[in-house]
Subunit: 200 residues, 2 copies
């Protein structure tokens, strides 16, 4: 996956490992991340596969640059990847995994958690996003037909965040219902009491 992400970035213009790292950090961070260590490792592998090619650029003062450009074979591979398995696979979500087991914690604590989550902004706002990466911003001006897709991912982020907030509201409602149900039977319920209850 990362290999193809890097390939896509290089297809939009030659880049060094360092530049690739900055794009991940500044612009793709809400749906993908990558450490320099991994980027350099993948670049080596991709060069071996013939997807990209290296040019040394000697610089005065600064360390030399290794600039990578995409090869025709690399571009073919990028297209192949884009077209392949368009069946959206079940995305792994650590956050839902945790939710699934929250029954172990007292209800009040979970209500508190969802209230906090409701306020937390997951994605950086557009303003930040737009100014973060000069390269992408330039692209948006020069090639609107490519920049649309960038806009689509940002819109996804916005809609996801809104949905998450709605979901939090739903969770809070459900948990408060549960709380009232148990309140009737058991008035001052502490976590320790709940533990005792379970062990019977």
């Amino acid at each position: 996956m990362l290999k193809h992400g890097i390939l896509g970035l290089i297809s939009n213009g030659d880049k060094t490992g360092y530049e690739i790292m900055t794009v991940f950090r500044d612009s793709l961070n809400h749906f993908w991340t990558a450490q320099t260590s991994q980027i350099y490792r993948e670049l080596q592998a991709m060069e071996k596969s013939g997807w990209i090619r290296q040019t040394h650029v000697v610089q005065a003062g600064k360390p030399d640059k290794h600039v990578f450009s995409i090869t025709p074979a690399g571009h073919e591979e990028l297209l192949r990847w884009l077209r392949q398995d368009n069946i959206p696979a079940g995305t792994r979500n650590p956050f839902l995994l945790k939710t699934f087991f929250r029954g172990e914690l007292p209800v009040e604590e979970n209500i508190g958690f969802f209230k906090a989550l409701q306020c937390a902004a997951v994605f950086p706002d557009e303003g930040k996003q737009a100014s973060a990466n000069a390269d992408l911003y330039r692209q948006a001006v020069d090639h609107p037909e490519k920049a649309v897709y960038w806009k689509l991912t940002i819109e996804f982020g916005r809609m996801y965040e809104k949905m998450q907030q709605e979901w939090c509201k739903y969770c809070i409602r459900e948990l408060e219902k549960l709380q009232h149900m148990t309140d009737g039977r058991n008035h001052h319920d502490t976590p320790a009491d709940a533990e005792q209850e379970k062990k019977r």
Copy 2:
């Protein structure tokens, strides 16, 4: 992450590696997956850490069972994990990574893709979900206070899917706009022509 998922499952009742695999396959598949190879590996590690403990159950005919149960130390670890880093980190989304680079493909192809995605159901429907795993179903009847959280993850799935459909509509609208814009200037635009265009 997987270690803690397994720990959570065992905390809801003793299980063999095989049983854990079936729960992942039948009930958690929309937010997490696990291969048997990995499950057995993790179980070993978790036993070494003292989070779980093994009992051999000799069976007539069938191979022996290795039934795992949670230890007090394991339960403590589960609670620690549930409470730790409640800051929802940027979830890695291979699907958005691909969207980001769709500019490489012709617009019509991408519109077709989003139209197909709009119709594709990502999550299995509740009926299937509920009947899939007898253990979870029983839990829903016996311990409504724990089953709520399971319901919450299912509701998340439903809301996510609805949001994705809305997003697809938005994407189609945006791409059709783009198509009309380019239509004015360049009438019978083939992918090959686009390639030529780019290389200038």
